[in-house]
């Protein structure tokens, strides 16, 4: 689980009587999260379902999800880290000045009430979304929230879980962790994995122009990344694997159409709580699967001589 204090959604469904959503909008981005796991479900421990649960939304604006919550805390944009730090202090009865609280856009009453409820919960869970992990502070925000959840365990059971977005990003984390020990932003250029987001993360690598060939699979950076990164992708040979001809495919040197995962290609996908789910494709695609194409490209590379002129390359011929 990568060191997080977390649990599965099944536990949330059955036990969580105090639920915080921080910087996420499940009503629009994860539409069945409320009904399947958090709000609506009844269980042995929460026989009255919604009535047994308290739901808090922390966000910078009133999203559609706020309607479903009992308490809405509107934090000033970019002040999430400050708010979490203040909460961590107040949970431990440390002094916090009024100015410090005012900076977050909330009042002391709101925070004291929140902390009383958090401590009074039997099982608390904090879900955090992109509004927290992708704004000012980024991974430091996630770290602060995870620490707050961990520290709450001095009083009651508390966990935290990221609301992962599109497709199988959780799977990518898990697979990279399994294979290399790190979740993303990895370089093999010394022959062993090294991890350094900021140096090896894609946007930075592209903006600096530090790569001379890009292999893009199951993503469309040509539509989502900043312009200097896209310009670099157009400059170097880019290879794209995707079920559609995407923005990135148009600036790529090679595009290969593949079967869409879960619809026409079988395999495994990870849920946001890191539970693997088998995919049950309904269609048969005229295109090959990602897995098959990547394996064949890998084998074609392995058949070429390595840097010492060994043929084929040592690494794969040993397997």
């Amino acid at each position: 689980m990568g060191g997080k204090v977390t649990c599965t959604l099944g536990e949330v469904k059955n036990r969580a009587d105090f639920i915080v959503y921080w910087g996420g909008n499940p009503a629009e981005c994860h539409p069945r999260h409320f009904t399947k796991y958090t709000l609506m479900q009844k269980s042995k421990f929460l026989p009255r379902g919604r009535k047994d649960r308290t739901v808090v939304m922390v966000d910078i604006r009133e999203t559609k999800s706020v309607k479903a919550a009992d308490i809405f805390l509107q934090v000033r944009p970019g002040k999430d880290f400050e708010l979490m730090t203040i909460l961590r202090a107040m949970v431990k009865d440390q002094e916090v000045s009024d100015e410090q609280i005012a900076e977050t856009g909330l009042t002391r009453e709101q925070l004291t009430d929140l902390i009383a409820r958090m401590k009074g919960a039997r099982f608390g869970v904090m879900f955090f979304g992109m509004g927290l992990s992708m704004t000012r502070g980024k991974h430091m925000n996630s770290a602060a929230l995870l620490t707050l959840a961990a520290e709450m365990n001095a009083f009651t059971k508390f966990v935290a879980m990221p609301m992962r977005g599109h497709g199988n990003v959780t799977g990518a984390d898990v697979i990279m962790r399994w294979q290399t020990g790190y979740p993303f932003g990895i370089s093999f250029n010394r022959g062993y994995p090294r991890y350094n987001p900021g140096e090896f993360s894609t946007v930075d690598v592209l903006v600096r122009g530090d790569t001379d060939c890009a292999f893009i699979i199951g993503a469309d950076p040509g539509a989502t990344m900043p312009q200097p990164a896209i310009d670099h992708l157009a400059k170097i040979p880019t290879i794209v694997l995707d079920p559609h001809v995407t923005h990135t495919s148009r600036l790529a040197r090679v595009h290969i159409t593949t079967a869409p995962a879960g619809i026409a290609a079988p395999g495994t996908g990870y849920r946001m709580d890191e539970i693997p789910m088998p995919l049950r494709p309904a269609l048969e695609s005229p295109y090959p699967s990602d897995e098959e194409v990547v394996r064949r490209i890998k084998e074609a590379i392995a058949a070429k001589p390595d840097w010492m002129g060994q043929q084929p390359q040592m690494l794969l011929s040993q397997i």
Binding site: V169, S187, V203, G262, L279, R280, E291, V294, I297
Partner: protein, 115 residues
């Protein structure tokens, strides 16, 4: 037309990965996705098994998959610092192949998470 029913199908559109979807499909497209939400329905109903796009493109021209695989391998092999990126909308099996390929290339590997 004969409809195939797939029970407990899995939707991978968002991180909820609902595994209780009932799909009604014929040869080329999915007609119904029961229990899926609006986003999930759109995801299932928008994909077809039609041959809509060329198998592969090299420099913008249609090519066979074999040619494209060779071309891709050449580009990656000749690069000093190749980058493997993305891996959100794909299976774990393909992700594992990607990491292995990056290892073989002594390159970079990264996912959406780093954005």
């Amino acid at each position: 037309m004969e409809m195939k029913v797939i029970e407990h199908a899995t939707c991978t559109f968002c991180g909820c990965v609902c595994d209780d979807i009932e799909l009604h499909a014929d040869e080329t497209r999915i007609h119904q996705a029961k229990r899926a939400c609006v986003l999930g329905k759109a995801w299932f109903l928008n994909h077809t098994a039609e041959h809509k796009y060329p198998d592969a493109l090299i420099d913008g021209r249609p090519a066979t998959v074999d040619e494209a695989i060779e071309a891709a391998a050449d580009h990656l092999y000749n690069a000093d610092m190749p980058l493997v990126y993305g891996m959100s909308n794909t299976t774990c099996e393909a992700q594992k192949e990607c990491v292995e390929m990056a290892d073989l290339l002594c390159g970079l590997v990264d996912s959406h998470t780093s954005l």
